[in-house]
Structure formats: C-alpha cells, structure tokens
C-alpha cells in the first residue's frame, strides 16, 4: 500500500528535513547520553579507552580508534599532547612527547575527529588535555571547530571549576560538554560547584596521584562516588590506575564507566605495528568482557 501524500510528506520530513535542520541549528544528538543509556541497558560497566593523538602516528590513531570501537569502547578519549603534562605519569608523558615530535597540534586532533566521523565512527569522542593549547587556539574558535569535527566533550586536566567559566561559555552554545574532574581530595563544596556546571559525565579520579598503571584499585572509590552522587545524576566515569578486567568488575557497583589510558598505551608500545589493531581491540574487549563480533583478522 502506497503512502498517502500527507504520509509521504511526514516520512520525507522526519527522515530528511528535520534531522538536517536540527543539525544545522546545532541541535545534534547527545552521543554521550545515548552511549551511557546503552551502557545502562547492557547492565555492564562502560569502557572508555584513552589514546594520545599521534601516538604512534596520526594515521595509526585513526586505525586504532576503529579497533577500539570494534572492541566495544563506549566513549573514546583522545589525548591532546602538551609540552608540560603535569597530571600525567611517565607512560602518557612519553606518548605526549612522542606525538609532539610528530608535529601534532590541537588542530591535528580536531582533524582526526573529523576524519573519524567521516568514516562513520559514531562513538562519542572526548578530547582530553591541558588548557594552554586550547587557550592559544582561541576558546570560541575551538568550540566551533570541535562541534564541526564531531567532538562531544572536553576534559581539561588543569582547569578546575573556578577557572572554567570562559571555556564553559564558549562550549555551551555548541553542545560541547565540559566534563569536570573530581578527586578524593575534593571537598563537598567543590563537588557541588563542579556538578552544577557539569555535562556529559563526571570524571572521578580514583586516587591522589598522576595517571599510570597500578596493581590494585585504591580504597577511596566508594566514598568518592557516594559523595559525588549526592550532587549529580550524571553518569560517573572512574579513571587513573585502572588497567585490568578485575579493576573494571570491582568498579561496577560504583561507576558507570572505567577510563583506561596508560595500560592501553603500554599495549601499543610493546606490540609490533602490524599487530596493534588486533591487540588493542582484544585488550579493550577483554576489559569489558565484550566479545568482538566483527573485524577479526
């Protein structure tokens, strides 16, 4: 049975016109929200792998992100290299310096996101880095270009809520979430202030320290997440020191997702180039217990 002209108009409108006009008005799908909803439906802890853009090369970043998606990554954090990564341990410092030596800039990182989107990657992309490269790029210009590149959020390691106003104002009109970091040392007043402005998710730091692989999960995780949940209904991602499946499993009662950075960089470092996509895919799949169903070599 053919649709009536009126039905045909509705079909045309809802399939083609409305989505485009929504996009052009800047009202896009909140990929982070959808992704965390999917995590919730799955009943598992989401996996957020972290990769430094340009480690080992920009070309490989594109390939490795696809491998992460196939491995079941729920959100992907892309590290923007900086000359003075003072919140990072030796592993991510190494990756960051390597990427800088390859000439990677914030502009390169935005371009990588754009290319990922153009090849059909729909997983939320979050940029993580330090404030000065963003400041130097220009806050407004960054927010605009990030939106055009399909970036969903940004995490800035050295930008606490007191100083985040200008970037927050630049990002909000473009639906780029500024994701706050909270630490075991954050007071309740600070947690409340950060959560008030938060969007996307809240990044909880598992310990007092820098990024890097640790043997055991720190003890303060339940206490921190309980304190943070009093102030927000956003999903919580836990990062720093998380490297193994047993860590991810132990996090399940407390956080919606686990961020894994240094351990992934180390996998890349010790795997020969041709085997990296597979190693990365299996590592991420192994963290979350998702069996990759396609893209096997």
């Amino acid at each position: 049975m053919l649709p009536t002209p009126r039905e045909a108009w509705y079909i045309h409108f809802y399939l083609w016109v409305a989505p485009k006009s929504r996009a052009s008005a800047g009202i896009t799908v909140d990929r982070l929200k959808s992704s965390f909803e999917a995590v919730h439906r799955r009943g598992a802890t989401g996996i957020i792998p972290f990769l430094t853009v340009g480690f080992p090369s920009v070309g490989e970043t594109l390939v490795l992100v696809s491998a992460l998606v196939e491995g079941g990554a729920d959100v992907i954090e892309l590290g923007v290299p900086f000359s003075d990564p003072l919140a990072d341990g030796p592993t991510i410092q190494r990756a960051s310096f390597h990427a800088l030596a390859q000439g990677v800039t914030l502009g390169t990182c935005l371009h990588v996101c754009q290319q990922l989107r153009s090849t059909g990657v729909e997983t939320p992309l979050v940029l993580m880095g330090y404030y000065n490269p963003i400041l130097s790029y220009g806050l407004e210009r960054f927010a605009l270009d990030a939106r055009d590149a399909g970036v969903d959020g940004v995490i800035v390691a050295d930008l606490p809520s007191e100083e985040s106003g200008p970037l927050q104002s630049a990002c909000r009109p473009h639906q780029i979430h500024l994701i706050p970091l909270l630490a075991p040392t954050s007071t309740d007043v600070r947690i409340a202030r950060a959560c008030e402005k938060a969007g996307g998710f809240v990044y909880c730091i598992s310990l007092t320290g820098v990024t890097g692989v640790r043997q055991d999960l720190p003890p303060g995780i339940p206490a921190l997440t309980q304190r943070v949940r009093k102030h927000t209904r956003l999903p919580l991602a836990m990062g720093f020191g998380i490297s193994q499946r047993r860590h991810v499993e132990a996090l399940a009662p407390w956080a919606e997702a686990a961020v894994v950075g240094s351990a992934l960089i180390e996998v890349i470092e010790k795997t020969p180039a041709e085997k990296r996509p597979r190693a990365v895919r299996e590592f991420v799949a192994g963290l979350g217990g998702v069996i990759p169903t396609h893209g096997r070599e």
């Binding site: 000065n132 007191e162 950060a194 320290g209």
Partner: protein, 398 residues
C-alpha cells in the same frame, strides 16, 4: 602585607587577568588550606615573631645596603646602591621565602617538604631551612642544571636533602616544577610544596612576594637613611621574578621610582634562544597561573636558554605580567655575553663576585647610570653571590 592602596591579588588570586589557579583538581583543596594557613600566620604574632627571629639571627637580616662607589665612578653618572642579598645565609635572597614557608609547613603539620630548583639556590635555601627546622626535604632538579650547578647539588646533599634528577623535557627548571607538582599531587596530604618563586597557583605568587618583600622594605628604609630620599630607579633581574618583586612591591606606591626588570636575553631575543618571557612572550597558562609565557603558535611551551640557570624559565610571575601591562614596571633583556661583562665588572670594581642572575641587572645598570645625572640614585638588587657560577665563567674563558 599589603601596601597602601594596593590590594592585589583579588580574592580569587588574580592580578588583573593574570594569576589564578590552573591546577589538577586534586591540589585545589590543598591550595585552599595553604591560603588559609598563610593568612592565619600573618595575624599570628607568635609566627611572625618566630620568622623575624630566624631572619635576624639565622639568615643575617637586615642585609647591607652598599654604596658601590667604584662602580658608580667607573660608570659615571648616577649613584649605584647594591642591596646585598648575596650576604644572606646560603648566599641568596631565596632563604627569605624558604624560612617563611618551612615555618608555615611545620605549623600546618606537614613534615615532608618538596621543592624545585634551577640554579640550586632555592634548593639550598630549602634544604637549609628544613635541616634547621627538622623537616624531611626532597629537591627536584633538571639534569642539565645539576651539571652546570654541581656545587649546589653537593651543598643540598650535605644539608641532608635528597636531590632527585629530572630527565624529562629540557631538563631544566620548568621540568623540575612539573615533577614537583606530580609529587605533590601524589603526596598532597603529607607534603608541603615549597615553591621558590612568585609563580604557580594562588596563593604562591602572593605569599612568596610577601616573604621576599623584606628586601624592598629594608632597602627603602636604608636608602632613606643614607640619602634622605627614594631611588630614581629600582632594578633587578627577573626569572620567575621573586627577588625583583621583593624589591619592587614595597616601592609600588612610590610612583616616582621607576621599576625595571631585567630578563635573560640568552643569545639575543631575535635568535629565539633566550628566556625573556615578558619581552617576547604572550599570555598563557603554565604551572598553575595565567601569565606571560614563551610558547609556540600552538600553545606548546618553548624551551629556553640562558647562561644563568636561575633565569632559564619560560614563564614569569603573574604580578609581573600585570605590572608590565599597567606600565608600572618596565622589562628588558640582557644577553649572556652582556651578563658576563656585568659579572666581571662587579668583580673587579667592587670585589664582589655576583651570581650570573643579578649580573644581568648589573650590566643594565652600567648602561643606565651614564645616561643619568650625578645626583640620580639607582637601587639594584644583588640577589645572590657567584661562587656557584665560578666554574661556568672560568669554563667560558672568562
């Protein structure tokens, strides 16, 4: 300690657009705690009495104000006065701040102190204060700086401090600060970070300035006694900017006094190999504060160069950035070669071996003095003595 009519930083630690707290969240409550402990210590008579006692009987304050008659005659023109911070215990102005913060750390119940050092003067001062006050001390120092300031490494170790080499980045002061901040993020509950300059997140730029203001407060009084008036110029070298701000701050409201900061011009500002942040940088964020910064067009921090390890830093204190923008102070650069000239000039005319850092200021003064009238007065901060630099200078055939 707030001079008349000047109440910067504001409550959030900003000097105009500069300063603030751009640090990992983990450190924010420690900075809040430090700020309130510092503010309480300013009202605490026992604390202030203790600090004055140590500054007088241990550090040797007040330091002398010396009329450099030979240098003045040699240059022709203005009368040049040297504020002799080189005579303070450990041989530089750094002890003023190290004693203040180490006492504060002890009051806060933090028994472990970490510090960064470039030339090693701040490291030595911190190791000294910690030895005297019974605190554990760990100093981060770039490998390149350990090489060129070897004698200070030995001094720190003799004083019971651990010196940990930093091999990342340019292996100088900037990287030592990164490493100290990483340590502090990890051990924040037990550790005080004894930052050595007027840089870093609030309250450091304010607190270090206040501890160093003893330089300008004394010099102002001493000059009034010697000459019955204030200087026409106050000059000091600027790396992070602690000795210069210590000299300038008590003179800020004396608007007839011209303030000049001398940065490290390295091989020449046009060569790109220098550390002249205020002369050639643009605003950015490094080590917790918004300030002028030597950075490339992508916001990556540049590697710097200076003959003097203490000035070899791509950032600068946020209050200096504010003083530059408001025009209250002027900043210019002196090259390595010119600084060496200043070094030798002071050695031979006055029998004083200056550190290479204030040798930059001495050179500028030697150029400024002849342009001024004979009754003009220039006050220079001689921030440290040059024993540590003897090998460097001799190695250059000097």
């Amino acid at each position: 300690m707030i001079a008349d009519g000047i109440s910067l930083p504001d409550a959030s630690g900003h000097f105009g657009p500069y300063g603030g707290r751009f640090v990992p969240e983990t450190l924010m409550s420690a900075l809040e705690e430090l700020e309130s402990a510092y503010r309480a210590s300013q009202q605490d008579r026992d604390f202030q009495a203790q600090l004055s006692h140590y500054l007088k009987t241990y550090a040797g304050r007040p330091t002398a104000l010396y009329f450099a008659h030979n240098l003045s005659r040699r240059c022709g023109g203005a009368r040049i006065y040297l504020k002799r911070e080189d005579l303070a215990h450990t041989g530089a102005h750094k002890i003023n701040n190290a004693l203040g913060q180490a006492l504060l750390a002890r009051h806060m119940g933090k028994r472990r102190v970490i510090a960064e050092t470039g030339a090693g003067q701040h490291g030595v001062a911190t190791a000294t204060a910690c030895a005297m006050l019974g605190l554990e001390c760990l100093v981060y120092m770039g490998e390149e700086d350990m090489r060129r300031q070897a004698i200070n490494v030995s001094r720190m170790r003799l004083l019971g401090a651990e010196v940990r080499p930093v091999a990342s980045g340019s292996r100088t002061l900037k990287d030592a600060i990164n490493e100290a901040i990483r340590d502090w993020v990890t051990n924040v509950e037990t550790t005080h970070y004894l930052l050595g300059s007027v840089v870093g997140p609030h309250p450091y730029p304010m607190m270090v300035r206040d501890f160093q203001s003893v330089i300008g407060t004394e010099a102002r009084q001493q000059l009034l006694e010697a000459e019955g008036r204030l200087p026409d110029y106050a000059v000091a070298c600027v790396g992070g900017g602690s000795n210069s701000l210590g000299l300038f701050f008590p003179l800020l409201s004396d608007t007839q006094v011209k303030l000049v900061g001398v940065e490290a011009g390295g091989e020449g500002v046009e060569s790109g190999r220098h550390a002249a942040t205020l002369v050639a940088g643009r605003p950015g964020v490094l080590h917790g504060a918004m300030s002028y910064l030597l950075q490339d067009e992508h916001g990556q921090v540049k590697e710097t160069h200076s003959i003097s390890a203490g000035l070899d830093y791509p950032g600068v204190g946020p209050e200096h950035s504010h003083l530059k923008d408001t025009g209250r102070a002027q900043y210019l650069a002196v090259t390595d070669a010119q600084a060496l000239e200043g070094f030798h000039l002071l050695c031979r005319t006055e029998g004083i071996i200056p550190a290479l850092e204030p040798a930059h200021a001495i050179y500028y003064v030697s150029q400024l003095a002849p342009t001024l009238a004979e009754d003009a007065i220039i006050l220079v901060c001689l921030s440290g003595r040059g024993d540590k630099d003897v090998d460097t200078v001799v190695g250059m055939g000097g």
